[in-house]
Amino acid sequence: MREKLNKIKRIIKKTLWAKNFLIAFSFLGIFYNLFFMNSFSDLYFLFFFLVYWGAAHQLKQGGKISISLAIIFLFLIPFLIAFESNLFVHKVSGWAFAFLCVGVLEHLLVLRRQNDSLD
């Protein structure tokens, strides 16, 4: 019985920590925030920021992907401003900031690892 419970626990843990699950979950959260939420919530933002970071951390090119996403979002902003979609544009820039943070932090961690290996 105990073994079974542990097995279930491991499966749940594995599933939740699985990169595909985290990526899908974080993108779903970001997508929902961008297109369906009519307000700004720091708590929501922080939660999905951390989930996304968890996902990006597991990817080999997590930092690069995040920066790319940030640059795509930054690229979109002037067009969105031109079309005067205010709420949406601020949410996009918020996520661009989040992607930049994750990207840069991931790069810093890579640098640190490189320094560790040099030691």
């Binding site: 700004f40 690229f75 820039s93 989040a98 640098l111 320094n115």
Partner: protein
């Protein structure tokens, strides 16, 4: 030589071509300059002539910026800002030229220092050029303006300090000392910016982020790094001690005042979208009157500028993609994000984090405009990252096969050139001059200004007449007013501060007593400047009033008068006379007989509990006397310490105490609010015992707080009642326990009353309600108790005790005041702004409680208890004697019927005795045709009385007989500098008072001196005499060093217990013969002692800086060898 080394020179030229290119940008500010005008205004109004302030900022007591003097936080302005002007003025440069040099320096030096930084940490051609240009020319500068003198020096210093920081952290051996000293010396360049400490935050923020990066990413040596950081910090402190020492001592008092008086905050304007492209200032999209603050702001949402601004941002963050393994790129990308996070303040996303820091981190409230404080961090990172991206893309383009095959070398250069074009295009207002406001929009006038000559002429005339004379500026004006000068001039403060050498009085944010009095004078101008305001001006040591007819009064306050109205008001004053006119400036002088000099010995001292706001009213009771000293309530406590004053005449204003009216206090309402706590444990059981231990601990914990402790007693008394109700009380254990709680709470109530606690009444009501509630519950038989005697005795005692408390003046009504002297007083009552004589009465000294009834205390109770002559909105006193037993009900009401009641009160049991009851009630505000009756339902009521009570403001003036003739000593005084005065006293045979009309500060000390030679001789150029030669004022040049510089250093000051605040703002000393060796003629030195700290700070800084310079030179010489 040049020809011989042509090749070498060419190489040198090409190596440093970027620097030459950057220096060429110095021509940009020439676009802004216009012949014959200066640039400035608004918050930068001091650009009228910063050098004029130098002589005032070398003192810790500033009587230029603060009305009647005070401490300021602006001393750091001295270097480099003020001395920059002073230096060039000493070389006879015109103000116009000096300002041009300053603006060019502020514009170009940041480019040069960042060039130096990049050549040290990432020496690439295009990186140096691009970074330097963006650091010099960006949207932040467009918003801040080219003459902003606080933030711009930080742009010069940040790259320098950062490069030394990087090198210092990576240095070996003792090399770190060199970089620590260089950091300390560089910090002096931005010392002026320290007047706004949060503005400097960008420097430590960058350094700390790099330190963490160095320690945790680069794995640097922690010990060496911290040692370097510590030495750098101490180096900074020593180099800047000249201002830090005074700044810190003034910071706490000033910060409180600033926090209390300044409501401005721009925590998070807009969203991070704008901050990405270095926009986001609170004023960017707002405006005033009919125009936006930045007329060009609208173009930044047009396609080209929108695309260009975001393209720069994209290129900035592309650097981390292009050079992911470059440590500096990662560091600067991280720094950019830190800068963005802080500069956006509490905007989305994660604005709540900033908000939390703002509310919870001590001192973080100063970052109330985060955009201005943290954007330099973002730009710093942006500049370097953009340079690296551009260089990297340029290198990639160069390697394209298309260009390589065709050997096209120049075409790839187009890319960095396009980037330069984008940077310049984005900041286009810098190039078309729009960056300098040049519109006429309400009180916002052009930043180009020319000071009319009459201002200079007036300033010269004033300083020739009396350079120490205080000048009040008129009309009423404050922050953000406009002057109708040739090009206009907008200013945050009076230009007279800069253009006149004299101390100025003007409307300022109220921080000191003098500020308050000055504001009261301005408020009264609209009402014709009553004589009491002129008297206040006299107390403020004001000599001149200048009417500025060139001030655009229409854009000042709603009660600001026009020049014509001002002329009417000023020329009507009997104590003012018109003396001179200069262009649009009219000067009025206080007549000699109305003028009170900076130092004087008062003839009459007035002790008063008038509020500062009513100071002028005191003059209603003192006739024509001018030579007075007024001691207000705030100094009364200290006053009692002084010896008895000579010839004291007291004027004491007693205001009506806030009356406790029965309709405000309904016992029934209080009782209804009582909730009896739940009790589920049977007394005697284990859980009950445990509960009692918890109660004991609970009460012990609340012991320190009297109010909480009473609450606990009442709570547990109610709990005991519940227990009696639930489980009975056969042995009276619970009842006794209940009474113990009451005993304790009533004891504490008496203590509250004794200490005049402001919460006394509230807790009295709570206790009375609880006693009454429990008494009623027991009487009604709702709980089962055995000992009836115990109940009767205890409750009888409680009602007595509460009744005694109820008779205390705090609960009762009337005029409640304290008299320091017994004697006969004349009473005046105020009605319709007039004081009427109410006759004479004798009072003992100490606390008094007085009720003044109208109509000589006539009883207004008529037939059938009808109140006769019942007037609306009038205070009445109701009194009677009554007797009420415990188990009977009794109440009294006043009304037109049982339902239309204006007053109702339950009466407490009297315990078998007759008791007197007194209370007050206010009649309804409107008249009524029906009669008002008094009704009660108790059998014994005697001496029922209703009296009309007066509750106008009361003034008592002591009628005193002058017991002996008081001979006033003669005084002579000379101002050495704003922190030191020498006073000569002659013929002082008794104790006397000395008033010094500068703002009260404990730092002012009085030293007794017996100079061997006359310190006034040859030290003065002019003299004035007042009060028939009894006061003589010498006017001489200000001296930072004089021969008496150290004269008081080892002397003890006259005891400070006689140093009091007088006249609502000034200093007063009571000088006793024993303080001056019982001499009749002697000298006194009045010194602002904190100035010694400034001297010490300057000395340490100069020695520190010299040592650092010598050390660095010695290193250089060693290196050359």
């Amino acid at each position: 030589m040049i020809f011989f080394n042509l090749r070498k020179n060419r190489k040198y030229f090409f190596n440093n071509f970027p620097l030459i290119f950057i220096i060429l940008f110095a021509i940009v500010p020439f676009i802004w300059f216009r012949t014959g005008t200066l640039i400035g205004g608004g918050d930068n109004y001091f650009l009228l002539n910063p050098g004029a302030l130098t002589n005032f900022f070398i003192y810790s007591w500033n009587n230029k910026i603060v009305n009647t003097g005070g401490v300021i936080l602006a001393i750091p302005n001295l270097f480099p800002l003020l001395y920059f002007w002073t230096f060039f003025q000493s070389l006879n440069f015109s103000l116009e030229i000096i300002e041009k040099i300053w603006i060019i320096f502020l514009f170009v030096l940041p480019g040069i220092t960042i060039y130096y930084l990049i050549s040290q940490i990432y020496n690439r051609f295009w990186v140096k050029i691009i970074a330097s240009i963006l650091w010099m020319i960006n949207l932040f500068f467009v918003v801040a303006g080219p003459f902003q003198s606080t933030i711009k020096p930080i742009f010069i210093v940040l790259p320098l300090i950062f490069s030394f920081w990087v090198k210092g952290l990576g240095s070996k051996g003792n090399e770190y000392l060199k970089y620590a000293f260089l950091i300390a010396l560089s910090s002096l360049i931005c010392a002026s910016s320290s007047i706004n400490p949060p503005a400097l935050a960008s420097i430590p923020l960058v350094l700390i982020v790099y330190l963490f990066f160095y320690l945790f990413i680069e794995k640097g040596n922690i010990f060496r790094s911290l040692r370097f950081a510590l030495v750098s910090f101490f180096g900074y402190i020593i180099a800047n001690l000249w201002w830090i020492i005074i700044f810190i001592s003034n910071l706490f008092s000033e910060a409180k005042a600033i926090k209390a008086t300044t409501s401005f905050s721009a925590l998070g304007e807009g969203f991070i979208t704008e901050y990405f492209r270095l926009l986001g200032s609170w004023g960017w999209t707002s405006g005033a009157y009919s125009m936006p603050y930045y007329p060009f702001a609208r173009f930044y949402n047009e396609p080209f500028l929108l695309a260009a601004t975001f393209l720069i941002t994209i290129l900035v963050f592309l650097a981390v993609m292009l050079k992911p393994k470059e440590k500096l790129v990662c560091f600067f990308s991280f720094l950019a994000l830190v800068g963005l996070f802080f500069s956006k303040g509490d905007s989305y996303p994660l604005g709540s984090v900033y908000n939390w820091m703002y509310k919870n981190i001590p001192g973080f409230w100063t970052f109330r405009e985060p955009f201005a404080k943290f954007t330099p961090v973002t730009i710093f990172a942006y500049s370097i990252l953009l340079g690296i991206s551009t260089e990297s893309i340029y290198e990639k383009i160069k390697k394209w096969t298309f260009f390589v095959k065709r050997k096209i070398n120049l075409l790839p250069v187009l890319f960095p050139l396009v980037i330069i074009f984008l940077i310049l295009a984005v900041s286009y207002p810098i190039f078309n001059g729009e960056v300098i406001w040049d519109y006429h929009n309400g009180s916002m006038r052009s930043n180009y200004f020319k000071v009319p000559d009459y201002w200079y002429q007036a300033g010269d005339w004033l300083s020739q007449e009396d350079i120490n004379a205080r000048v009040l500026t008129m009309p009423k004006s404050g922050y953000g007013v406009a002057y109708n000068w040739e090009h206009g001039f907008s200013t945050a403060d009076s230009p007279a501060i800069i253009l006149f050498k004299n101390p100025i009085l003007r409307l300022a944010t109220v921080k000191t007593g003098a500020d308050y009095l000055v504001s009261k004078v301005y408020d009264s101008v609209y009402f014709g400047l009553p004589q009491s305001s002129i008297d206040i001006l006299s107390l403020l040591n004001t000599k001149y009033v200048v009417q500025q007819n060139d001030l655009d009064w229409r854009y000042s306050y709603s009660d600001t008068l026009s020049p014509k109205q001002m002329k009417d008001v000023l020329s009507r004053q009997k104590d003012l006379r018109f003396v001179r006119n200069f262009g649009m400036l009219d000067f009025y002088q206080l007549k000699n007989e109305a003028y009170l000099p900076r130092f004087y010995v008062p003839e009459t001292k007035i002790i008063s509990n008038f509020e500062k706001s009513d100071l002028g009213e005191i003059f209603n009771f003192i006739g024509e006397q001018k030579r007075i000293a007024i001691f207000l309530t705030d100094s009364l406590r200290d006053f009692s310490k002084t010896d008895s004053f000579n010839n004291p005449e007291q004027v004491i204003e007693i205001k009506t105490k806030s009356l406790v009216l029965p309709e405000q206090y309904s016992l029934m309402e209080e009782i209804l609010n009582i909730s009896v706590p739940y009790s589920g444990n049977r007394p005697g059981g284990l859980m009950y015992r445990l509960g009692k231990i918890k109660e004991f601990v609970d009460k012990k914990r609340s012991e320190g707080n009297m109010l909480k402790s009473i609450d606990k007693n009442l709570f547990y008394a109610a709990k005991r009642l519940r227990e009696i109700s639930n489980y009975g009380d056969q042995d009276d254990y619970l009842l006794r326990s209940l009474f113990t709680e009451f005993d304790e709470s009533i004891k504490k109530l008496y203590l509250l009353k004794e200490e005049n606690n402001g919460h006394f009444l509230k807790y009295f009501k709570k206790t009375e309600a609880m006693v009454y509630f429990i008494y009623e519950t027991i009487e009604k038989g709702e709980v089962d108790v055995v000992s009836g005697e115990l109940i009767e005795n205890n409750f009888s005692n409680y009602f007595d005790l509460l009744s005694l408390l109820n008779k205390s003046p705090e609960v009762d009504s009337g005029y409640d005041f304290v008299l320091s002297q017994a004697g006969t007083y004349n009473l005046y009552l105020k009605s319709d702004d007039q004081y009427t004589d109410y006759g004479i009465r004798y009072f003992d000294s100490g606390r008094q409680n007085l009720t003044l009834t109208d109509d000589n205390g006539k009883n207004l109770v008529g037939e059938k208890n009808k109140i006769i002559d019942f007037s609306p909105n009038t205070l009445y006193k109701l009194s009677f004697e009554y007797q009420k037993s415990f188990n009977s009900r009794g109440s009294v009401l006043i009304g037109q019927s049982e339902t239309e009641v204006i007053f109702y009160l339950n009466l407490l049991p009297t315990g078998g005795k007759e008791k007197k009851f007194e209370t007050y009630f206010l009649s309804p505000p409107t008249n009524s045709s029906k009669d008002f009756l008094i009704k009660y339902n108790i059998p014994v009521v005697k001496n029922l009385k209703v009296e009309k009570v007066n509750f106008s403001s009361l003034v008592l003036k002591k009628i005193g007989q002058q017991t002996e003739v008081f001979s006033i000593p003669q005084i002579e005084f000379l101002k050495i500098n704003p922190t030191k005065y020498i006073v000569k006293v002659n013929n002082a045979d008794k104790a006397y008072g000395l008033v010094f009309s500068e703002n009260f500060h404990q730092g002012w000390k009085l030293f007794y001196k017996d100079f061997s030679e006359d310190p006034f001789e040859k030290s003065y150029e002019k003299e004035f005499t007042y009060f028939s030669n009894e006061v003589k004022e010498y006017i001489g040049p200000m001296k930072f060093f004089d021969k008496y510089f150290f004269s008081t250093l080892f002397n003890k000051p006259i005891p400070q217990d006689t140093h009091l605040s007088v006249n609502g703002y000034a200093n007063y000393w009571q000088i006793r013969p024993e303080d001056v060796n019982s001499k009749k003629s002697y000298y006194l030195v009045v010194e602002f002692v904190p100035q010694r700290l400034f001297h010490l700070g300057v000395l340490i800084s100069v020695l520190g800086v010299l040592s650092a310079v010598v050390y660095l030179f010695s290193l250089r010489l060693k290196g050359k060898k």
